[in-house]
């Protein structure tokens, strides 16, 4: 997926598609995956609907376009001669890729934070694929939705604060890690 360093036919089209997929509504992803993994769907035999696995699958589909397109644009901001410098110093193809990602780690960080943000605060997929089952597939967001619809605003608000603190914490830790690498 990090073939962002290469220039191949259809690369721009692929990037355009990925960029528009970043705006994919979460309920649509939920709906599509639902239809795939429900008992009658093509992947129904795995029986993963309303399990954490289904939620993970849906969230991965949501995160992938963000990670790919932001990492790709980060890598293409490196000097075009950069891979050549690594090669002449003795790096293999894998070594070139690894060092390029490390050099573009600002972009990789933004990509992970953006996708984390999209996934952590998302209700549609978690609700539709997980089913909001207590102690099993209930996430903070689905819990907030539930508490609010029950009229338990205090409970919902408290959970919301927990979610915000968590998001801030993860951001801070990742930033700190990149700074001190």
């Amino acid at each position: 997926m990090l073939i962002a360093l290469r220039r191949f036919r259809g690369r721009r089209v692929l990037l355009a598609v990925l960029t528009s997929l970043m705006a994919l509504p979460t309920v649509v992803v939920g709906l599509i995956v639902y239809s795939l993994v429900s008992r009658a769907g093509p992947l129904g035999s795995f029986g993963i609907l309303f399990t954490p696995r289904a939620v993970i699958l849906g969230q991965a589909i949501l995160a992938l376009p963000i990670v790919v397109s932001m990492t790709a644009s980060g890598l293409s901001s490196l000097d075009p001669l950069f891979p050549e410098v690594l090669t002449t110093l003795g790096a293999s193809k894998g070594g070139v890729l690894w060092m390029s990602v490390r050099q573009a780690r600002g972009a990789v960080l933004s990509a992970s934070l953006a996708s984390f943000g999209r996934v952590v605060g998302e209700v549609g997929v978690a609700m539709m694929l997980g089913g909001n089952i207590r102690w099993y597939t209930r996430t903070i967001t689905t819990a907030i939705a539930l508490e609010t619809s029950k009229g338990e605003f205090e409970q919902g608000l408290a959970l919301g604060i927990v979610l915000i603190v968590m998001a801030l914490g993860v951001n801070a830790v990742l930033h700190w890690m990149v700074r001190h690498e």
């Binding site: 000097d79 001669l81 950069f82 050549e84 410098v85 690594l86 090669t87 002449t88 110093l89 003795g90 790096a91 070594g95 060092m99 050099q103």
Partner: protein
């Protein structure tokens, strides 16, 4: 190390390199020797960088063959897949033994130590060994103790030297340098020149490009000019030596056993350049205003286009271009004694 008489370090044959549909390099036949400093000069876009990248196996030529110590590095880009397979060993050897330093330093983010230690590390050295090699390489470029500085906080000249150290850290047998002094000030230029001289004295083969003729003359053992991608030897006498004496008219430059009068100029000169077509050959001393008259013996004569190139040993070999008619008239033949005459002002000191 190859013994004398074995395959040259690099040999190129029938090379056509195309870049975006344009032929940027055409080399019918060229050998590059080990243990010397070969300098490529030419305008921007004359193919210097392309040649260096080809030599390092970073790009494949469209046509033709490059050999490193007799092993093909790249062959016939048209049959790229098979060519590349056949070239695997030569390519591995050239990558192991040579390093290219690009024109712009392209340092990695992070510390100077990380940059310079990268090569040894990726080639399998332990962390401690890589650090030791990095320190040694930094010392060689005059940046001892810079390991913990951030690469982004260096001056232009320092960046260039770190890029050099990064290449030296892998102890290359062949150092390929693309315009090592292009982006630096005069003082750093002198520093980089000294480093290259030092690296060459330690036995490393240097192949470098530049469009600074001063640097080219001062460093070269062999000078090649690239014109629109076609390499040619430079038809000049490039004499290494030093100034012995200066009076109010002339500087006396000693090269080999010859002393040449040059216009008086102060400076740290190591090279006298004398174009081959400024030399007059005669049987007897001429009664002329030219201030240099050296007695010598013709050692070699060979055709060069419409002209003849005569090599005359005057204590140092001098190449003179003369017409066939003139050669016949004064009897230029190997073993013949003759007088070489040229004006002091024809000599340029570098």
């Amino acid at each position: 190390m190859s013994s004398p008489g074995s395959a040259p370090l690099f040999s190129l044959r029938g090379l056509r390199a195309r870049f975006e549909g344009r032929t940027v390099l055409t080399v019918d036949s060229l050998s590059l020797d080990e243990g010397v400093v070969t300098v490529l000069v030419g305008e921007n876009g004359s193919g210097k960088t392309t040649l260096l990248r080809l030599l390092n196996g970073l790009i494949a030529p469209g046509e033709g063959c490059i050999e490193f110590r007799g092993e093909p590095v790249a062959e016939e880009g048209l049959a790229a897949r098979e060519g590349r397979l056949a070239a695997r060993e030569g390519l591995a050897a050239v990558r192991r033994e040579s390093v290219l330093v690009h024109q712009s330093p392209l340092l990695f983010r992070g510390t100077v130590g990380l940059n310079v230690g990268y090569g040894p590390r990726i080639r399998g050295a332990s962390r401690a060994e890589a650090a030791a090699r990095a320190s040694e390489a930094l010392r060689r470029v005059g940046l001892a103790g810079f390991e913990r500085r951030r690469a982004s906080a260096l001056s232009g000249g320092e960046e260039q030297r770190v890029a050099l150290a990064r290449a030296l850290a892998v102890s290359p047998k062949v150092l390929l340098l693309d315009e090592p002094t292009a982006n630096v000030d005069e003082e750093s230029r002198r520093g980089i020149e000294a480093i290259i001289r030092d690296v060459s004295a330690a036995g490393t083969t240097v192949i470098m490009s530049t469009h600074n003729m001063e640097i080219a003359y001062r460093l070269c053992d062999r000078l090649l000019r690239l014109d629109d991608g076609v390499p040619a030897e430079v038809e000049e006498n490039i004499l290494k030596g030093r100034i012995e004496e200066i009076d109010d008219q002339f500087a006396y430059f000693r090269a080999g056993d010859a002393v040449i009068r040059c216009p008086a100029r102060q400076g740290d000169f190591v090279v006298a350049v004398l174009p081959s077509d400024e030399l007059i050959l005669s049987r007897l001393p001429l009664d002329s205003s030219a201030r240099n008259q050296l007695n010598g013996v013709v050692t070699e004569i060979r055709p060069r286009g419409n002209l003849m190139l005569a090599v005359v040993d005057c204590g140092v070999p001098l190449k003179a271009l003369i017409t066939r008619q003139a050669a016949a008239q004064i009897g230029v033949a190997p073993g013949a004694a003759c007088v070489v005459t040229f004006k002091a002002s024809a000599v340029r000191l570098h």
